[in-house]
Symmetry: D4
Subunit: 165 residues, 8 copies
């Protein structure tokens, strides 16, 4: 199984990005985490992106806020699928700047954007991507989805019991 | 190699979604195209999404406009990676409605969102996903990226020659 | 008198949706409350929507946040009037994502959208809908509106008495 | 069967609101159309709204653009369900002003808002509302939804036949 | 000198609207304050607006939030100048709904809109309007503007003294 | 009767601002029109604003687009009421930049903002302001409003006659 | 005098960026123009930015649309002042994506952002920057500003002559 | 070396603008700070802007919130480069009003806009501008950028050490 890389522009993004590590960890898929800043370490970003494949990385998750250039730049430097997580940072315009800077990539260089601060979904998307060629992981993802369903049904049963007219 | 499915809410979306088929076709990867409407054919959508895997589909690209529910609903009914293409339709608010309806999925069900109307990038993202376990496709993607680079360098050379001070 | 169904995507939405139950309760109209998630329990959603009519439900109120697909999907699976309540959830873009995902339905499948978090108005709208064929309920709604008017006039009298120049 | 009233702020809105008349007409439900301007004929608006019920009107559809006050004001003057259609007018900010002026009603006075310019859905919503107490109309609505489904399936079949890899 | 009327949709708006009363009071111009709700007391609104002139009111300041119909409706029922104050209320979309509902009036019925929550400026605008025919009030407004200037210059002097390089 | 000044940032704004001149002209109130650019003629702006009162001007209407500083700056240089018209210019963000630059003035310096491109309403607002101390003008404004009402009623009668069910 | 570099993401941006070249040319300041794409030629971008200083470039103007990463990335690779021009491209959300991707840079790496499509102002800003150490250029900029003033005054005189009451 | 001027509309903006002073101070470049309000002290603004050059100021940084006219007006009164800092003030619409009022300047008068509240980047941009003709300052800026890089690499090393799979 290939590894998932989780990178982010600054240490403070870890608060949001931890959820990606957590869910991947729950599925026992190997991953690595690092800090790679498009603006403060552009050369490190180039090297990181270009060496990812040879390090057996299969998918890169990149989180960034504001004028979030990391996911798009990484996607420009590798052919691995890159997932972008818009991070809500201070003085960010609700995160709309982060979303648009990651989402609105020009034709030729795709970034798979997930919802604002939704590193958990970035992790799940990376797992779905790896499961395309890994039946066992696919089954674990199906079981996870089944579990979510059961939890909702349990809440539903409780609420239906408690609220009477 | 697995197939890529390209689905959309209505025939009129084909104008935008054709670009996904074109780029996938250029890479000679098998794909299928169909119309699946979340709102007008909800049962067809359920069946389509749930049978995708057994039809050897590896990635689903779903395009929709306005209150675009197709990508998110399909992602709720399968564990394959689902790519959402926000389509700019008439009376859509610049496409912001399409973007947010696809992007802002709750934790648990990821959709890989690409830029507004950018079906080409949806196709390229699907190819990157399949290439995670297909070295030959990965190399073709790298060649494609190299070709884009060469085209820009050619434009640059032309413009530098023509504009003098 | 038919029943009003109040459903929502997750237990946490109950905080907002309670106001719908409260106002309906105040009018002594029968209702039921449940959890139905478009994304985590799509089959439950299909069944719930398709069986609503035979359970003597007359109107369905559905609350959801973010990429809020529940109201629109339910409206696609029944011909009962469906009222959508955009819920402001965390990491939601002020609730604009919820509003647009519910409001901007394509031609053919209508959803009656109310203001952000305004479950009370969803309840009142459901009551107005049932009152179309129930004169007695209509009169109670008129009395309720009269009472609101009296309250404003009382505030006005107080403020006019207290603020002098 | 009660009548559906379709009103709008100015004659020019008829271009958009015609679709409501058309769909109601298709279902052979009685309706009336008029011009009622909140800003230029406030007294006419008061009278129209307050007399609607005695004219056997069951639902009021009100379309308006810009600072669209008509739907909300009518809902303040009657207890009939009122459906608001945000109309995109010139110098309107994409119709966002119309949407918010209609949607964001305070607690106590509900307006059932539909998508921008979507008078067709306003008509269908009015029909769903009347069908709550009219089984025959409900069945016709179900047949209409079935027909839409068939049309999508037909498009799907065509597209699947024509696009081969 | 004519009176200035300050009205608002609900008692809770007084927190914001007090600033209008305060500044008018500072200029010793007569004013009255009341609660007039477009949606809960539409008839009171009609009467209030139509009788304002005969009560010797010269300008009406109307504050409202969300789908803020009060300023525009009052302007439709009188020929006095009407100043609208968009009030930021809970579940309001940053106040953008209030702003657009007040600002985007159709041709024929003008509302003088001031900044979000800026009741102080509404008061000053009302005073400027009355001063068009009252030289003495005009001079007091000039003195007020002079005083603001002096305060800024004092701050400037302080900051220049304290910050040295 | 005092004069109304209509100024704008550039000659091209005249297309929009003409409507102010037209309506004022219709009421036979004296006015003057000029070009005053905050950014290209700041000294002219200072002089124009500061001399307006001595030229017997009673109200200033200022139209501008983009980062529209003219209305706010003029209001900072005089105590006359200033009406701002946000003009939609090319490369303007729907006119939202013009609206916010004019509307969101700080406490102390009020600008009476009207709807985007709505110079007609700016003219009517100026007339309402002058009519505060001019009964005859007030009556003409009432007659104008009455005429609008009659026109709507005429449209209504026509549409009611032509649309039958 | 140092040179001004004008770069852009693709040849099609030249339509907008030409205005920068034109104004710089009018001031007879040396400049060069090239195509440098952040996403399609990331290495070329690194080299271009890092070598700019040694090529005697004093200021870099970078134009880009959508998820516009070029200005920010260039500013990350040099210490020359970088001016960003948000370009309105197709499927761009009014250019808001371009603006925010360029403007909302994190602390440490500044980009001087100008208005949407306003390459002329980018050129003038570059000239102002060079004039900080070049008195003669400063005087030419003052003369240019004087000329603009004269043109407005001429328009004003014409309009004042032609519009009479 | 020329001085950098840091001005702002009110004392309360100092909280945000301090960061500009801090970073300039860190580079030991002379600067001055003052309060200049476009709306409350327009004449002071004219004088300040027009005398800046003779006071040996090389760059002006101007911060303002809401309808932020200070940066644009100052740029209209001098030919020095002017940097605008949009300040998030209370009742500001997320700061979007401040951003657009500063950014969307018309052709002819450029303002170098930085991110919301990002006075630090304004300071760095001013330093980059002065460094165009000061090699020593340029080298210090390069060292500063190098230091940022080292800090990120240190964070990266730490996080890589601590997070293991």
């Amino acid at each position: 199984l290939k590894k998932i890389a989780i990178i982010m522009g600054s240490k403070s993004d870890m608060q949001v990005m931890q959820a990606a590590a957590d869910i991947i960890s729950e599925f026992q898929v190997p991953y690595e985490v690092s800090i790679v800043s498009a603006h403060r370490t552009p050369h490190r970003m180039v090297t990181y992106a270009e060496r990812a494949k040879e390090k057996n990385i299969g998918v890169i998750i990149a989180g960034a806020g504001g004028a979030a250039h990391l996911p798009g730049m990484v996607a420009s430097l590798t052919d691995l699928p890159v997932i972008g997580v818009p991070v809500l940072s201070s003085n960010s315009l609700l995160g709309i700047d982060s979303i648009l800077s990651i989402l609105q990539m020009p034709g030729g260089i795709p970034v798979a954007t997930v919802a604002l601060n939704n590193a958990k979904n970035a992790g799940l998307l990376a797992l779905r991507i790896l499961s395309v060629s890994n039946e066992e992981l696919y089954l674990r993802l199906s079981a996870y989805r089944e579990k979510m369903k059961n939890e909702v049904e349990k809440s539903a049963a409780e609420i239906e019991k408690n609220i009477n007219f």
